[in-house]
Amino acid sequence: MKDLGEFFAFVADVMNVKPQELSLETRYGEFPAWDSVMHLKLVMALEEEFDTEIPIEKIPDIKTLQDLYEYTHK
């Protein structure tokens, strides 16, 4: 598992934004770079980076970076 700083660096790299723009409260649909295309891209990238699997029925439930971060240590 990576620490929060590394997690934000990973998300920032995928979203092509600065890590300072992100927090655990960053929310899908409200943060401009996090649209539906980016949502799938984030899930795919996170699964590869953290060797994890997010079940299909859980993907729509990911609303914030806090929700996504949970999957880095499952």
Binding site: N16, S36, V37, H39, L40, P55, I56, E57, P60
Partner: protein
């Protein structure tokens, strides 16, 4: 869950065509979205899409398939006892497409011919209804499934452009004397949630909102006569509802599935769906990465593309489709290795 069962029918063949106008998705999307194009292609897994040239209609695609299918199954048009056309993009609003192909294929006059107005979920419905007709009549039924979605697509719409494509297909279903054999029993289930009707729709041009000149004005990247899709809402329907429902269908039918031929909504979605259903990825048939999402015809296109390579013996296939409505259909059908399967490029205009 209601399971619809039918036996004593078989698929004699499936012929499918995709337009020979193959679009490289990333190159095309780069003009619209710059560097974001790469993300879109990676997220959907759709590398290329087939799009008709202007002037090609839905019936043009399906008639080409039907002619190929009838010729290669040695079927005389006089043997066709019913023709069913699944499409939401008919050549005209009136008359229905089955009438158009009835004339083009010189089919007998005293047969039923009708359309089924469903989008992505349509093929499974068509297959079940065609099987009912074939069994009831003891004869051959021609099922056509195709769409020219790009005629209803805004070139600037980020939701539809990256995934949607065009295709036509023809499936020949016959009655057979395999009624006694459990292995040849087909099973179907259907799912509808009309509360999702606004998430994948063409807002104008119907009786609710008759066509007016103002519907040709572009706002939010599209016109009111173009397809509107909330891609994430559709994904949520598949992720939350269809995935569980399909799992229940498999559990209640107790069939050993050889292959899975899902609607090719996008490659990410079907990979996740297969994982949820515990169906290995190499048993999941694909075509969307190469041809895009052509609507309900993706299922017969996918079968036509994969059957000749994978079917060394008769096999049980899980077919599943889902989309606008919301609507979904699932079926377990037998595919014979000896049946006719062909996928070809359509080049006529």
């Amino acid at each position: 869950m209601e399971i619809f069962r039918i036996s004593g029918v078989r698929i004699d063949g499936i012929s499918a065509c995709v337009p020979d106008n193959l679009i490289d998705n990333e190159t095309a999307l780069r003009e619209l979205y710059g560097s974001e194009a790469k993300n879109i292609v990676e997220s959907t897994g759709i590398k290329t899409r087939c799009v008709v040239k202007p002037g090609t209609s839905t019936s043009d695609l399906c008639v080409a398939c039907a002619e190929d299918l009838l010729a290669n199954t040695q079927t005389n048009p006089e043997e066709i006892a019913a023709v069913i056309f699944v499409t939401f993009t008919p050549d005209r609003l009136l008359p229905f497409n089955a009438a158009i192909v009835h004339e083009k294929l010189s089919l007998p006059k005293e047969i039923p011919a009708f359309d089924i107005n469903l989008a992505c979920s349509g093929y499974v419905y068509g297959l079940y209804i065609a099987a009912l007709f074939a069994k009831s009549l003891g004869k051959k039924v021609l099922l056509l499934d195709g769409d020219t979605q790009t005629a209803y697509m805004s070139a600037q719409d980020k939701a539809t452009v990256p995934v949607m494509s065009d295709a036509g297909t023809a499936t020949l279903i016959s009655s057979c004397d395999c009624d006694h054999d459990y292995d040849y029993e087909w099973k179907f289930a259907f799912l509808t949630d009309g509360s999702g009707r606004e998430f994948l729709t063409i807002p104008a041009g119907g009786s609710e909102n008759p066509f007016e000149a103002r519907h040709l004005e572009i706002h939010d990247s599209r016109r009111d006569v173009d397809i509107y899709m909330d891609g994430f809402a559709v994904f949520k329907f598949v992720a939350s509802d269809v995935s569980k429902w399909l799992g229940k269908f498999l559990a209640e039918t107790h069939d050993e599935i050889d292959y899975f031929a899902p609607h090719q909504a996008n490659m990410f979605m079907i990979r996740k769906l297969a994982k949820k259903l515990n169906i290995p990825w190499d048993k999941t048939w694909k075509s969307g990465d190469e041809f895009g999402n052509s609507g309900s015809s993706t299922v017969p296109v996918t079968i036509a593309k994969n059957a000749r390579e994978f079917l060394q013996r008769d096999a049980k296939i899980l077919v599943s489709s889902f989309g606008s409505g919301f609507s979904a259909g699932a079926g377990i059908v037998n595919l014979a290795s000896s049946a006719y399967y062909k996928l070809f490029r359509f080049s006529k205009i």
